[in-house]
Amino acid sequence: MSELKCTPLRDFHVAHGGRLVDFAGWEMPVQYRSILEEHKAVRRAAGLFDVSHMGEVDVRGPEAGRFLNHLVTNDVGRLYPGRVLYSPMCYTTGGVVDDLLVYLRGPEDYFLCINAANIDKDLAWIREQAAQFNVVVTDRSPDYAQLAVQGPKAPAIVQSLTAVKLELIKYYHFAEGTVAGVPCLISRTGYTGEDGFELYHPAAEARRLAEALLEAGAGLGLELAGLGARDSLRLEAGYPLYGHEITADISPLAAGLGWTVKLDKGVDFIGRAALAAEKTAGSMKRIVFFKTGDRRIVRAGSPVLGPTGEVGRVVSGTLSPILNEAIGSALVNANAVLAPLAVDIRGAKINLQLVKPPFVSLKKA
């Protein structure tokens, strides 16, 4: 039986009432006080998330940019130092290996943030694809911890701990500096739809930074928030979660992420041919987002019913504590998307109202 991995903040979570669960082989807090209250705190003030389980990778060398532009579907050529790019990386089939962030730090110096559940798979894939390029791929995951501060009060909280002028860091940009004396890559990115920062820092400094952020945010309504709230927030924002809306069998086009697939970026990339064909023919199945007007959560795996029978299945579902109704996403046959769709919950037929996300209006930078 393998042991669960833990972040440098494991004891900190326990000390603060965190309820630890197994997430992708990591012992992580699913909640502290309440998933719904933590979710609301992020939308109203700010939440502090330990996301140290995420993976970090250095990609360096004369062909780093060329390699990454071949590896991912979005256009790495648009990056300049200080800018961040969100992109899927795909198999030749157009299915997704993972979605990730690409940071350009300096000449020939890129930094990737990958999903915790996919670290081993991604590293093997990246290394295999890098073989023909003059690049060095280094797994930095054990060296980094990561804390996310998300919510309208996040900038004020982080600003109180740093001399870096945060108003100069635009959305999807970053700077390197210190926060509470801890060296950080300060990234204006996040997974909640709110304004905020993701702070990549040395693993040994995690507790010090977390305590400083908690103290700085105490008067502003900052709350510790767990992975449960992280999931309901991202779903409410309409963001995909690997393994749900994007998988090896669900391409970025099928998932509604066509904007991340730059077929015309001028270089070939892995999956380009398959994705170009899918774009021309249209995806056979599509991810749609829905709400129900009802509080009963529509669970992942539930069949989606159209006029002729089963036309898809739910891939994500939760309760939005802002809308007070069930929200979710489903993979549905493309030819059924315009038909009335429903699910069955314990014998009751619940209609799905399709929504173009975000479910709530977002105020990010």
Binding site: Q31, L36, G228, S232
Partner: protein, 127 residues
């Protein structure tokens, strides 16, 4: 919050039953149950008048995590349901023994109550 109330008896499935002065029984789920479930998002309760056998499911409690059946601790018919849980299911988390009560039963066989766990025995069950 204390896990047990001395004036209740308990089912192994974590429902409590309290005999009221008028001889009816109030039923809900325990502190242990609401804590395990996490944020409760929906409670499905029966209609007044429905009859249940002991151990039969009388409803469903949904949380962000999962949905769980609710079991009648004794046989009886439903006299009242807590309509407040419709708009505020979180009452079950906040006040499982009071504001979070679920149904009131007319007990078919008063001797059934004795078969339920005492507060001490339920405490032992839930550590």
């Amino acid at each position: 919050m204390s896990n047990v109330r001395p004036d209740c008896r308990y089912a192994k499935s974590h429902e409590w039953l309290r005999l009221e002065t008028d001889g009816t029984a109030t039923v809900g789920i325990t502190e242990y149950a609401q804590n395990s479930l996490g944020d409760i998002t929906f409670v499905q309760l029966p209609k007044v008048g429905v009859v249940f056998k002991a151990g039969e499911s009388f409803g469903v409690v949904e949380s962000v995590k999962a949905a769980s059946d609710l079991y009648a601790p004794v046989a009886g018919s439903v006299l009242a349901v807590n309509a407040a849980l419709d708009g505020a299911p979180e009452k079950v988390n906040q006040s499982p023994f009071d504001g979070g009560w679920m149904i009131k039963l007319k007990i078919a066989n008063p001797a059934d109550v004795g078969a339920l766990l005492s507060p001490d025995d339920y405490s032992k069950l839930t550590g």
